[in-house]
């Protein structure tokens, strides 16, 4: 259970393409292999059955053939009934080895010759045994013998005595010629009886070489490694096809009285198809044995072909399935890549929609989403600016500037009257400063105006610090007409006074210079004050680079100016610092050197 659920879990986590391939594989493989298996096993079983039937038929035909031959031999055992002298000989009372008369010799020899000539060439022996001691035995390569007696204990004899005159076929046994040569023969024996008295007269036994059976069997082929042979009633082998080794396990298999059939047996670890038929004439069994593998050779070829074809098909299907799976999931993978980009803030992406399936719809939705996202970002930004603007406006509105101007004008007038020129000068400059500062309606001013403002501010500061400040201003003519945003220099200078002079270090020298370098307007403010340590400098640089804070009320002057420049002109511009402890500080403002009113356009792009 756990394994299955872990398998399912594993499957769930697989890539989509892999899932598709796996599913395809199972969908192709499972039905194909199940169908292949069932089709082939069914086919094989049917084939085996058919082959078995066929073999059985062959055995029947074979047995029929043999029976024709056997019936012919069987008829020969009836011949004594047609020869009066032979019946008389059998009836006669004789001592063992009693000599025959010339007449008898002629009769018996003539009779035996008739049997030999009427029968097949393979009859090798004829024996006549009378109930009262008569005996006439002709064996191969021998003259007749009159001294032989029947073996009273012979199995066939006991069998024959119960058959009411019907003949008995005796399986292959050996007979010995008078010269000592051994001949394997099978025999047909018949009990002869007198019609008049109903008494038993004796027996006739005909011995036949099994070579004819052998020949008949050899003409039948069940397979390359077949074995065909004939067994008698007791399981002894009568004759077999060349090399056919009778198999003990099989003869025992057939002992249970069955007359014919097809069965299987394992011999030497090989499955064999065994078919057997019992002859009605001889009561012998014709047995055919063929290894099943031999018969099923063709079916194995078919199986292998099916398997090869199946594997090729599955292989092709799998290649196609792999191709398709990747083809289907390709746009999804593209989408994933685009999403990663968006995640990193790049909203300038778009998914190329090529088809209108689910993936196409997804791509379109993605595109819509990305465009909505960038729109929202801009809105947020604008809102923030406007909020700032509103704050400034509110600040401005807190003091009525006209009231201030008028008050300062009154102070100046009184001082004029009193003859205090310093107050007059200070008040007038202050008034001008205020006017410039508070007249925030103007978005762009010329650098000249900005420098004038700084000069006014410095005049006041000089008076405050009683000439401790050494302010120098240099500017090229071309720079003066440049348009800049207002109030960017004065905070820097104020910062220089705060940090350079208020700390009481240096000579209070502050220098301001403006120049144009390759369309860049550079404004440099230098002091010789306390300067900054390395850590403090890098801290401020970091703040300049990363802080999005516009400065606000508590804003640092430098930061405020920097942000305003960046917001107006872009990341390329802004403020940079150089300083060494006790060596003063150098602030460089970098702005585009713009002479025309081009701001409107730039601002639009920036939004």
């Amino acid at each position: 259970m756990k394994r299955i659920s872990s398998m399912i879990g594993w499957f769930k986590n697989q890539e989509l393409a892999r899932k598709l391939i796996l599913i395809n594989f199972i969908l192709v493989m499972l039905p194909l292999s199940i169908m292949g298996y069932f089709a082939f096993s069914r086919f094989a079983a049917t084939l085996e059955q058919k082959v078995g039937d066929y073999q059985q038929q062959t055995m029947k035909q074979l047995t029929l053939n043999l029976d024709t031959y056997m019936a012919e031999l069987d008829r020969l055992t009836l011949m004594p009934y047609q020869y009066e002298p032979i019946i008389a000989f059998l009836e006669s009372k004789r001592d063992q080895g009693q000599a025959l008369t010339l007449e008898e010799i002629k009769q018996l020899n003539g009779f035996v010759s008739q049997v030999f000539l009427n029968g097949r060439i393979d009859i090798v022996g004829v024996s006549l045994f009378g109930e009262s001691g008569a005996s006439y035995v002709v064996l191969p390569e021998s003259q007749y013998v009159t001294t032989y007696k029947l073996d009273e204990n012979a199995k066939w004899l006991k069998n024959e005595q119960m058959r009411n005159g019907q003949s008995t076929f005796i399986g292959t046994h050996n007979i010995q010629s008078t010269g000592g040569t051994i001949f394997p023969v099978f025999s047909i024996a018949r009990e002869l009886r007198s019609f008049d008295t109903g008494k038993k007269l004796g027996y006739i036994v005909i011995d036949v070489a099994p070579s004819v059976i052998h020949q008949i069997l050899s003409q039948v082929t069940l397979g390359n490694r077949d074995a065909i042979y004939i067994t008698d009633q007791n399981g002894g082998v009568v004759a077999g096809k060349e090399h056919a080794q009778p198999i003990a396990a099989i003869s025992s298999l057939l002992q249970d009285g069955e007359l014919e059939g097809v069965t299987h047996a394992a011999v030497n670890g090989e499955r064999q198809l065994v078919s057997f038929v019992t002859s009605s004439v001889t009561e012998w069994k014709t047995i055919g044995i063929v290894p099943v593998a031999e018969l099923m050779k063709d079916s194995f070829l078919i199986r292998n072909s099916i398997m090869l074809l199946g594997i090729i098909c599955v292989g092709l299907a799998m290649l196609m399935s792999v191709f398709l799976a990747f083809q289907i999931t390709k746009p999804l993978r593209g989408l994933i890549k685009l999403m990663r980009k968006v995640e990193h803030g790049d909203l300038l992406v778009s998914f190329p929609v090529k088809q209108w399936d689910e993936v196409g719809h997804l791509g379109k939705a993605f595109n819509t989403m990305v465009s909505k996202l960038s729109e929202l970002g801009y809105l947020l930004y604008e809102t923030e600016i406007r909020e700032k603007d509103a704050q400034i406006a509110a600040l401005q509105s807190k003091i009525n500037p006209h009231f201030l101007y008028n008050t300062l004008g009154s102070i100046s007038m009184y001082a004029e009257v009193e003859g205090n020129q310093e107050v007059v000068k200070m008040t007038n400059n202050l008034s001008r400063l205020l006017r410039y500062s508070l007249n925030g309606q103007k978005e762009r001013v010329s650098l000249k105006d900005e420098l004038d403002h700084v000069r006014g501010y410095m005049t006041i500061q000089k008076m405050r610090y009683e000439e401790r400040i050494d302010f120098q201003l240099e500017s090229i003519e071309a720079a003066l007409t440049c348009k800049v945003i207002p109030l960017i220099i004065q905070p820097i200078v104020e910062n220089a006074i705060n940090h350079g002079i208020d700390q009481g270090i240096g000579n209070g020298r502050i220098s301001l210079s403006c120049r144009i370098d390759e369309s860049l307007l550079r404004i440099v403010i230098e002091d010789d004050g306390i300067g900054m340590t390395e850590e403090k400098l890098s801290a401020i640089r970091r703040r300049l680079q990363y802080s999005k804070d516009l400065g606000g009320s508590s804003g640092n002057g430098l930061l405020n100016v920097h942000r305003r420049i960046v917001l107006h002109y872009g990341e390329l511009y802004g403020l940079s610092l150089e300083s060494m402890p006790y060596q003063g500080m150098k602030v460089i403002l970098t702005l585009p050197a713009v002479h025309e009113e081009l701001f409107k356009g730039r601002e639009d792009i920036h939004a």
Binding site: L102, E141, Q143
Partner: protein, 434 residues
């Protein structure tokens, strides 16, 4: 992803390759094994009928097996029948067109088969097989040539010889230092020899074993008749009448009859061969084909000499086994060629056949080391030179049958020798007029 895909296809290729290999493996396995059976099936099969019922059949079977082993392209299948039925069976087979491809014929019965072309002329097939007729014993060769054409390949000469049981002869004091029988010359000497034997051997043993029936007594008569000066005449010049009812023939027959009547040949003997084989006979006069079999008889100490000369000169009944090709529809040149190859092989391996006891037909075999190293055979090999064949007559075999029947009656004391010759001559004359 790319790596995964390559892995999958690699696996597929590997499986395919494996299966292909397995398939081809199966296929190649099927194509092996069945060489021997086919070679045997393609061989020219020759059916070979033989009439050997003495001890000689086993030697012929041995030769056939050896030949088959040495010549895989020819398979000779031997079929042996007892002599009693052999010729009627062969005649029937030839008349019904189902004759064997090869058959053993006795020289005596050749005329019967040469007539009407029942056996093939061998001039051409023998030339092709490279069989040199000049290699045969002249006496034998003559017997198979008709109108200048050879009709059979002579295999041997066989004649009557005298076998003797050394134990019985020694017992009777009739064996000399060389284990040779001691007998006075002439008919009387042989008679006395047998009488002396009869006196010393057990009563159930035969002094001379001869069957009462069948041809053996005719052979003996024919041999003795031919030993007489001026004897051996059978027909007149024109072959229209018999001339054997004469005093010389009667003299020989009377001598034979006396042996039976005085029970020097015991009555009612059926199988004289077996009698001697079993050690129940002191002397046996029969064909030389018994030698091989007697050599194999357990406990039999025997010797063999040529047929004794009882009368004027050496002569003995004899015959030859020959190999002939019966004429039939299905006889192809290929079969004829194969048959001649077999026949040639047989005569050239005469020493194998000589083991049965016969004298080989080829002079070079008789002179060869293997033949002369055989015991007994060389002792009677010269017999071939004075063999008295039956006269050449188309119906000789049936005429001899008449003699057998008449002689049997005499042996069973149903008629006298005079009556026997008279009756036989009468019947043969009738036969000749047919």
């Amino acid at each position: 992803m790319f790596i995964h895909r390559r892995g999958t296809s690699c696996l597929i290729y590997m499986i395919m390759a494996l299966l292909l290999a397995a398939l081809s493996g199966c296929a190649s396995q099927d194509e092996e094994d069945h060489p021997q059976g086919e070679a045997r099936a393609a061989a020219v099969k020759l059916e070979f009928w033989t009439p050997f019922s003495g001890g000689d059949n086993q030697f012929m079977t041995e030769m056939v097996n050896q030949f088959n082993k040495e010549n895989p392209s020819i398979e000779v299948v031997q079929m042996n029948t007892r002599l009693d039925d052999y010729y009627s069976r062969l005649r029937t087979a030839i008349m019904s067109g189902s004759a064997p491809d090869l058959a053993i014929l006795h020289q005596t019965s050749l005329p019967q088969f040469v007539q009407n072309g029942y056996i093939e002329k061998l001039t051409e097939p023998a030339r092709q097989a490279g069989l040199d007729w000049k290699g045969f014993n002249a006496n034998i060769l003559e017997s198979i040539v008709y109108d200048g054409n050879p009709y059979a390949v002579p295999l041997d000469t066989h004649a009557l010889v005298m076998y003797y049981n050394k134990s019985y002869l020694r017992q009777a004091g009739l064996l000399d230092g060389n284990d040779m029988p001691m007998m006075s010359s002439g008919a009387d000497g042989f008679h006395a020899f047998l009488k002396q034997l009869k006196a010393s051997i057990p009563p159930d043993a035969a002094p001379l074993a001869q069957p009462s029936t069948r041809i053996d007594s005719v052979w003996l008569w024919w041999s003795l008749y031919n030993q007489l000066e001026g004897g051996g005449a059978f027909y007149n010049e024109e072959l229209t009448e018999t001339v054997f009812n004469n005093p010389k023939a009667l003299k020989a027959l009377d001598y034979t009859n006396q042996l039976y009547k005085q029970e020097l040949i015991p009555p009612n003997i059926n199988d004289s061969f077996k009698l001697f084989y079993d050690g129940k006979a002191a002397v046996l006069i029969t064909g030389m084909w018994g030698t091989g079999a007697f050599e194999k008889a357990p406990g039999l100490d025997f010797g063999v000499i040529p047929m004794p000369v009882l009368y004027d000169h050496a002569a003995v009944w004899g015959d030859s086994h020959t190999i002939a090709i019966p004429t039939k529809l299905g006889m192809t040149d290929a079969k004829k060629a194969a048959a001649l190859i077999f026949a040639k092989w047989c005569v050239e391996h005469g020493e194998m056949w000589a083991e049965a006891g016969h004298v080989p037909s080829m002079t070079k075999v008789v002179a060869s080391e293997p033949f002369n190293s055989l015991k007994y055979r060389s002792a009677y090999a010269a017999t071939a030179n004075y063999v008295a064949y039956w006269p050449r007559h188309v119906r000789q075999w049936s005429i001899v049958e008449i003699l057998i029947q008449e002689f049997e009656k005499m042996n069973y004391s149903q008629q006298t020798p005079e009556q026997t010759l008279e009756n036989a001559a009468k019947r043969v004359n009738i036969e000749l007029k047919k």
